[in-house]
Symmetry: C2
Subunit: 162 residues, 2 copies
């Protein structure tokens, strides 16, 4: 466990299997204004900051035909997060919550997901709004956002209602 | 390249780096009615089928506090997809498109994403609607869907407008 994620009362962590089941390639880096965790916005909706997704040149052909697309799903790797934490006690929450009920970076596979506005495309760089991660965060994937299957405006999160 | 993904005219593939940058743990399996690719729905919106997400018991504590949540984001691993294909010629499309403009399973990191309706929770199993993958697909992550940041009902995909 890293210092940032010492166990709080009610939290549960497990030891993960010794071997991985599959491997990831970092396909680029995300450039943001934030170099320390304390500077990052609490969530992406709280920030209007423009960020840049830098796709490694070898993967840049994959950006073809993105023009005119308004929103993207960006997957990136939270390489500083602990992976064994299964029940977490968020600050200001009354009770602990399971990791899969949270968007915390601490999870068995620390893949973060943000929906971003696509504002510009220049060679291998995308200008976007809607990220809240640290500068230099490894990029895993970019997908087009389809309102027909990805937009659920009436969705509710149980622990938020309580 | 697997037989299913032989290169078509206009497609581009690269050799990927020899080493991985990070590793994944499979945290469960997805149970669906489909055992062959040809049987899978073209996209999840075309299917009302109920599917089951089976979380490995060791990770089940992470499901705590999911009750009352209506929609989840499910990440899973397309373990049969080729990873070097950067420009693809979808059937019925007039021109090739970059992998990052598509939701094709073929991508450098074949992490698929579906937004599902959460219909039931029983121990380590979630009953959901909205998946289109093969039975036995490895599970990577489950996240609560927040309408405030994840829902973009007006999003448009450029190549769809053309």
């Amino acid at each position: 466990m890293s210092e940032d994620f010492g166990l709080r009362p009610g939290e549960e962590a497990i030891a993960l299997p010794p071997d991985f089941d599959a491997g990831l390639h970092f396909i680029g880096r995300i450039r943001t204004p934030w170099t320390r965790r304390a500077e990052c916005p609490k969530n992406a909706a709280q920030s209007d900051a423009l960020c840049t997704i830098e796709v490694d040149p070898r993967f840049a052909p994959g950006l073809q035909a993105l023009a005119g697309t308004t929103h993207l799903i960006v997957l990136y790797w939270m390489d500083r997060a602990p992976r064994g934490l299964l029940v977490q006690q968020p600050r200001h929450a009354q009770a602990p919550r399971g990791t899969f009920a949270l968007r915390s970076p601490a999870r068995p596979n620390p893949i973060a997901l943000s929906v971003v506005d696509l504002l510009g495309i220049a060679e291998n760089r995308l200008t976007v709004r809607g990220l809240d991660c640290l500068d230099g965060t490894p990029l895993l994937d970019i997908k087009p956002y389809f309102a027909s299957t990805d937009s659920k405006p009436d969705a509710r999160v149980g622990w938020r209602e309580a």
